[in-house]
């Protein structure tokens, strides 16, 4: 497996069944700080990868496995591009809760370290004019007298913190008016001409909202210094990202590392109907898209617009 920079292997279990898509197949599950991977032992080209960012909910429920029968299994509910997928993994070693504990706790670690990776607006970041630092964060520079160009009150001075993970900007008068942009979400950092003169412009990535943030720093030498610093930190971060997902592994895992880190043989992928592979994991069925929500007088709630000629009562009576 080739992992991206900053991705670390956390655990690997060799007897896990993908109960939903490959029931009856013994496979290996690999948990890194960013995702869950599963591949079949017999056919390594049968594999899947779930990023923790897509995960909505992880729970344990009873499932029907071909290899283990009725057993406790790990349910992973995910959402990607408005389509929800559900994955069920079963540990084939009876009585071992390692699968559950690892995945759930890594997911929790991921969830609680979002500030490392997500752009945040108006968060509770500043306390008494000091930045609340993340566990692995260090402040490299603090720039005062920065004007934000997105607000009307452009002439009020602001502060910018430059750290090894992100750029934090906040208003002097209102601590809750702030922005935290991790380098991970920065698309570009450059100097542009604006109606307020030369300004530092940070463009955020599409998935974080595609914001364009302008800051004015006077004088222009200071502006150039700051931009240079941010650009170089951005480069350093891109080469060696810090995702903030910290997971303490037990001693025994260290030995397994080398054994698992084997590079999978490259195999030719012939794309013939590969799109069907997703079908097995749909959580909502084969429904491609919802109709628009509308207010329903009968229930007093918002519902999905009914199909023509169908009444709510009629639909409900079918069930009852």
């Amino acid at each position: 497996m080739k992992s991206r920079p900053g991705e670390k292997l956390i655990d690997s279990l060799n007897a896990v069944e993908d109960t939903k898509g490959n029931n009856g197949d013994r496979g290996r599950i690999i948990v890194t700080n960013l995702r869950i991977l599963w591949h079949s032992i017999a056919l390594p080209r049968v594999n899947l990868s779930i990023g923790f960012n897509c995960v909505i909910n992880i729970s344990t429920k009873t499932a029907q496995s071909k290899l283990r029968g009725t057993t406790e299994a790990l349910y992973v509910l995910t959402k990607c591009n408005n389509t929800r997928f559900e994955f069920i993994f079963t540990n084939l070693i009876p009585g071992s809760p390692r699968l559950f504990t690892t995945v759930i706790s890594v997911h929790r670690a991921y969830e609680t370290s979002k500030l490392y990776r997500d752009l945040k607006l108006r968060g509770a970041l500043i306390n008494n004019k000091q930045l609340r630092l993340l566990p692995q964060e260090q402040v490299y520079n603090k720039v005062n007298g920065v004007w934000n160009l997105s607000s009307d009150q452009v002439w009020k001075p602001r502060n910018v913190f430059i750290t090894n993970v992100r750029l934090v900007w906040h208003a002097n008068i209102n601590e809750s008016f702030n922005i935290s942009i991790p380098y991970l979400q920065m698309k570009s950092v450059k100097i542009r001409d604006s109606k307020f003169g030369l300004a530092l412009v940070v463009e955020s990535s599409q998935q974080s909202g595609g914001y364009v943030l302008g800051f004015r720093i006077d004088p222009s030498e200071k502006l150039h210094d700051v931009v240079k610093e941010i650009q170089s930190l951005h480069r350093v971060y891109s080469a060696c990202p810090l995702f903030g997902v910290e997971f303490e592994t037990e001693e025994r895992m260290q030995g397994d590392d080398l054994a698992v880190e084997q590079v999978q043989d490259e195999c030719e992928i012939e794309s013939d109907g590969t799109s069907d592979a997703f079908a097995a994991y749909f959580a909502d069925g084969n429904k491609d898209k919802d109709r628009d929500p509308v207010y329903n007088e009968e229930l007093g709630l918002a519902i999905e617009k009914l199909r023509d000629g169908i009444t709510l009562q009629g639909l409900w009576d079918v069930l009852a």
Partner: protein, 944 residues
């Protein structure tokens, strides 16, 4: 449960490892914006207040854009945990909505203000504290409303953990009151119509308190109202209603189209009451509700409400008691609200305990989805075939095993090593002997070592030696053995009973619990030397029973063969040695022929020969078979000692019969005794006693008889034990001789010894005779049967036979068949190695009287077999005269002389009379006798 699912409109995960519960979610237009759209306000137990404004946009593919960073309006870390948040008109002189936040020790009211920016993410929101009340008691929850009928203003009522309510008229504190009988606080609400509070107390009833009653119930002594009051007037409720369960939540609704109602969500039921405490309706829940929310009255006179459930995580929509809709949720909400966002009203907002915040609408497409079966991959049939074959092989292997035995070798945690000392003990430990011997009885020590791979604790080691051998220590315990530290113990074995020992082996077993918790036993066998039970004496010339062994090597000097058992024969020529068993008179004499390759063993008792025969054969073969090429072997060419063997069987059986007879008699006497007792008792009970009529004498006589019988049984048991030992020794010898005679393989010998078993046990329901008879009959009908037609199996019940005729007959028949070359294991060629046909001794032939018919009892055995007569007849009438006399005697004396049945009188050597000089001569004179024997037996064999 539900066919329908709640559809996700906008959702996000709030907080980082924060917890949420009831009261943490509020939906209101908190920033008082002109579009009157709701905002979502969330306070966590970690003290972080967040305000969201969901604004998803439609994407090209028809989905919703979901959460965007700019949807966060405000995030503020408050210094204390947030218990509850509500929006209301809490600031005097303002109609705007303000936010009341309840912390454990204070109640704060905030205003949320907006400063618009150039772009959406440029707007900034500010949280300003309007006022704050410090609380003296730890707060539980609060409610608000226009207490006392004020208009346009909301007052606050905080309930603390001890059930005290404190009223705050906006910025000013009003009063505090104790609610009566408070143990734990419950949900509390204000009813505007009747100006009263309702709460569900810990006595599981709904209680209503008038605001006026609370307000006027001041303590006359203290005019000043303060929060930290210690006592107060007891207030009483206006009305109460028993719901009989804990309430999860409580709501007061007042819709224009429905009567004012109080709705209570219990743990199992939903109650709806009028504002005066009359039950309107009640709904029993078939699930565990987590939270609920009345939201509207859409039909005249009825109330619509939502209920979320735990286990099935679904959202129910009720109209009064009728379920109108149900939808499946992804999470179990702790709080549910309804809000208007963008242009869409009626959006359901849910918050889970882990902080999953979702804005939902109800899906109307039934979820009939069944996941498609994954595309079948190309199956590797070759691989599957191989696996199948492998599995079948394993199944076959395991089914071949008759019993599923745990594989002991894998888990051989404990090893027992036993080493017998080469010499006898210097100081004999033999005690408690049942016999007397002029010479000191020796004992021999054995070293028992326990070695283990793992640390094992609590090991019980027990020693067992077959009677009459015994050990000085029955068992001992070892507290723990670890790999580095093996234990060592010494035990001694010696001859205890006055019986001939049938075997010279003892076993040592260790009982322990393995590391996996399974009980395990390790055993080791100990071979004891012959010198433990015999002592060297001068040889005896004449003896009744003789066994001659042939070899294929010139005879060895017996002094070389028995270097450790020479005694006073040490300086003799080595042609004859005598051995005497400790405690018994029998002397076994071993003679080596000078000219031929023969050895003769003779004794007065047939069974006493066994240990010497075995030992001699073993010693000879180790003496001659020094290298691999020395093909020394021992044969038996003489006549099978059938008669001698049968005498032993007869003797043993006689004891069994006696035991039976004694038992019968004992039960008879016991019955008689009880009958006499009964009669005596009735006489003694009688008020006018009748004469005893000698019943007492009769009773005493019977009593003596019973005692005597018990003694007799005890004696018989002892002598039966001796007879059993003798029979065991005899069986060993008999089987061994057959083995030498027919040159049997080890497999065949196994079959033979398991059929004619040398294990003679006394205390089973099944005696030795019937067991051996059954086994031999089985062999005769199966392996030894002539043709397949004879191979019928019809097992007979194992009951004690009338006499020993049958078993003797069958053994004789088997010997005959073996003599003719039959094999005991199927698939071997016919045996041509039988050394010599068994021939009855000349003098006994005259006594043959039984006819061939006696053998044919079971009909299966071929009638035309002539030789049966010859062999079978031998046991018929002949009896050792000595035994015969005894039998007659015992028959005459009834049971009193049973002990004499034991062993024939020993032929005590006349050692004392023979002087030293004579002794040597005596031995020498015996030797030529052996050479005569050769000549003597030769023609005898030819005669037949």
């Amino acid at each position: 449960m539900s066919l329908f699912k709640a559809r996700d409109w906008w959702s996000t995960t709030v907080g980082e490892a924060e917890e949420f519960d009831h009261g943490c979610l509020c939906v209101a237009n908190i920033d008082n914006s002109n579009d009157e759209l709701d905002k979502i306000i969330i306070g966590s137990y970690h003290g972080i207040l967040r305000i969201f404004n969901p604004k998803p946009t439609k994407t090209e593919d028809g989905g919703w854009s979901g959460y965007k960073p700019e949807d966060v309006l405000l995030e503020s870390a408050l210094p204390n945990p947030i218990l509850q948040i509500e929006a209301g008109k809490f600031v005097s002189g303002s109609d705007n909505l303000h936010l009341a936040v309840l912390h454990p020790r204070n109640l704060a009211v905030y205003s949320v203000s907006v400063t618009s920016g150039a772009v959406e993410h440029g707007r900034h929101f500010q949280l300003k504290k309007a006022y704050e009340h410090k609380l003296q008691r730890t707060a539980f929850n609060f409610c608000y409303g226009p207490f006392g009928g004020v208009s346009g203003r909301d007052f606050l009522c905080v309930q603390s953990m001890d059930g005290t309510v404190s009223i705050f008229e906006q910025e000013s504190y009003s009063f505090s009151r104790f609610l009566p009988g408070a143990l734990l606080p419950g949900p509390i609400r204000y009813i505007p119509k009747s100006d009263s509070f309702v709460t569900v107390s810990s006595s599981w009833q709904l209680e209503c308190y008038k605001y006026q009653v609370l307000a006027v119930a001041t303590d006359t002594k203290t005019k000043e109202e303060s929060q930290n009051m210690k006592s107060g007037k007891r207030v009483t409720w206006d009305w109460c209603f028993n719901i009989g369960e804990q309430a999860l939540d409580l709501e007061v609704v007042n819709y224009p189209t429905a009567p004012p109602s109080i709705i209570i969500l219990g743990e199992r039921n939903i109650f709806c009451l009028t504002d005066t405490g009359k039950l309107r309706y009640m709904k029993k829940c078939e699930y565990d509700p987590s939270c609920f929310l009345p939201y509207a009255s859409l039909v005249e006179g009825s109330i619509n409400y939502l209920v979320a459930t735990h286990t099935t995580s679904s959202l129910m929509v009720y109209q009064d008691i009728m379920l109108k809709w149900a939808a499946k949720l992804d999470n179990v909400p702790v709080e549910v609200r309804i809000g208007k966002f963008q242009d869409l009203q009626g959006i359901v907002v849910t918050l889970s305990d882990t902080g999953r915040l979702e804005c939902l609408y109800l899906g109307t497409d039934p979820a009939l989805f069944i996941p498609p079966v994954p595309e079948a991959r190309e199956l590797n049939y070759g691989e599957m075939d191989r696996e199948m074959a492998q599995l079948q092989k394993r199944m076959k292997q395991s089914s071949n095993k008759p019993v599923i035995m745990p594989n002991a070798k894998q888990e051989d945690d404990l090893q027992i090593l036993v080493q017998v000392n080469p010499g006898l003990d210097d100081n004999s430990v033999a005690t408690g002997l049942e016999y007397e011997d002029p010479d000191p009885v020796p004992s021999i020590s054995a070293r028992i070592q326990l070695k283990s791979r793992l640390t094992i604790e609590n090991i019980t080691v027990s020693m067992h030696a077959d009677w009459p051998l015994a050990c000085n220590c029955g068992s001992y315990e070892v507290s723990s053995v670890d790999p580095s530290n093996p234990t060592e113990n010494f035990v001694s074995f010696f001859l205890k009973g006055k019986v001939l020992p049938p075997t010279l082996t003892a076993s040592v077993s260790a009982n322990y619990t393995s590391a996996t918790g399974a009980p395990r036993i390790a055993t080791a066998k100990v071979k004891l030397p012959l010198k433990l039970v015999v002592k060297p004496v001068l040889p005896v010339k004449n003896a009744e029973f003789k066994v001659t062994l042939d070899t294929n090597k010139p005879p060895a000097n017996l002094n070389d063969i028995f270097p450790d058992l020479l005694g006073e024969n040490a300086h003799g020529p080595g042609a004859a040695l005598g051995f005497q068993f400790y405690g018994m008179g029998s002397i076994v004499t071993v003679l080596a022929s000078k000219t031929s390759q023969r050895y003769r063993l003779q004794c007065d008792k047939f069974e006493a020969l066994w240990l010497l025969v075995k030992d001699l054969a073993g010693r000879l073969s180790s003496h001659f078979n020094r290298t691999k090429n020395d093909n020394f072997s021992v044969y038996f060419t003489g006549q099978l000692p059938l008669q001698e063997y049968f005498d032993l069987i007869e003797n043993h059986f006689e004891h069994r019969l006696n035991a039976e007879r004694c038992k019968e008699m004992l039960s008879q006497r016991a019955t008689q005794f009880r009958a006499i007792q009964r009669r005596l008792l009735t006489r003694f009970k009688d008020k006018t006693p009748a004469p005893l009529a000698n019943l007492d004498t009769l009773m005493e006589g019977t009593y003596r008889q019973i005692l005597h019988l018990a003694d007799t049984i005890e004696e018989n048991n002892q002598s039966q034990e001796m007879a059993a030992c003798a029979l065991a020794s005899g069986t060993h010898l008999f089987c061994y001789i057959i083995k030498l005679w027919t040159n049997m393989s080890q497999d065949e010998f196994k079959v033979l010894t398991s059929s004619i078993t040398p294990v003679v046990s006394n205390n089973l329901d099944q005696g030795w005779e019937e067991r051996v008879d059954a086994a031999v009959t089985h062999l005769l009908r199966t392996t030894l049967a002539k043709a397949s037609k004879d191979q019928t199996l019809n097992p007979q019940p194992l009951t004690m036979p009338e006499d020993t005729t049958k078993v003797k007959k069958h053994i004789a028949l088997m010997c005959d068949k073996l003599g003719k070359g039959a094999r005991l294991v199927e698939g071997l060629p016919q045996n041509s190695a039988v050394n010599m046909a068994p021939s009855p001794r000349k003098e006994k032939k005259t006594k043959i009287s039984a006819t061939s018919k006696t053998v044919m009892e079971n009909g299966v055995i071929d009638n035309s077999d002539d030789t049966e007569t010859l062999i079978g007849s031998q046991f018929g009438q002949h009896k050792n005269k000595h035994l015969k006399d005894q039998e007659i005697m015992s028959a005459m004396n009834g049971l009193s002389d049973l002990s004499e049945l034991g062993l024939p009188a020993a032929n005590i050597p006349l050692e004392d009379e023979i002087s030293e000089k004579q002794r040597k001569k005596h031995i020498e004179s015996m030797v030529p006798d052996l050479d005569d024997m050769e000549v003597h037996t030769g023609p005898m064999a030819l005669e037949d």
